[in-house]
Symmetry: C2
Subunit: 128 residues, 2 copies
């Protein structure tokens, strides 16, 4: 029998690449501008090989670009692939909005009930 891959490689797409919290941290850092590996290492306080490896994954899925300059390598953000994730989640946007609405409605009706019973007003502190 032929065995499939256990789990999609992190380099398959941005969904997988970005599932790793550390990689999200790197992207956040790079959103402030291009940085050489060394500064990422200092900024995040990880060891250098780990930084390089995470950058490698991000590079492979196209979330970062590299610019070689002497013995330094400047990495910069390329957020375009994140759009796919953004678009996909946007598909569900109205669900959580409706849910928040329902939660808010419930909270408000509860407060209204409390008010009608002579309790504290919404958002107010008890008399002091």
């Amino acid at each position: 029998m032929i065995w499939d891959m256990a789990r999609a490689p992190t380099t398959l797409d941005s969904f997988n690449a970005v599932a790793e919290p550390r990689r999200r941290q790197v992207l956040g850092l790079l959103s402030e501008g291009e940085l050489p590996v060394n500064e990422i290492v200092d900024s995040l306080g990880w060891n250098q090989p780990q930084v390089s490896k995470h950058l490698g994954v991000l590079l492979e899925v196209g979330l970062v670009k590299v610019r070689h300059a002497g013995r330094q390598r400047f990495y910069s953000l390329d957020a375009a692939p994140l759009k796919e994730i953004h678009d996909w989640t946007a598909t569900f946007e109205h669900f959580w909005q409706h849910q928040l609405d329902r939660i808010k409605e419930r909270a408000e009706s509860k407060q209204a009930l409390a008010r009608s019973r002579g309790n504290v007003p919404p958002g107010g502190l008890s008399a002091s």
Copy 2:
């Protein structure tokens, strides 16, 4: 030496849960409404244990809810956790927008150049 987890479990958060394409498919299907496992199996054409396992992961990260009804289990979408992903990607939204702008500008300037040389107009077919 103590060894850390190799890779974050899929049940750690919605980022990891949703990295798996199959799980995204399930969520898409459930966005049309509550469904019993059996119908998900039929709809997607996977075998039943696999469907149950994916639902288990989604359940654990709070992306679906279950309603027990006799021997059936109705799963429904709970998209709220996707908001975190949406919000995170939104952080980068202006990056890809700028990039698209730049691409568009480049394309337009190229077309303008072509027009000035007497080539076909933008979006138009050649004279026929």
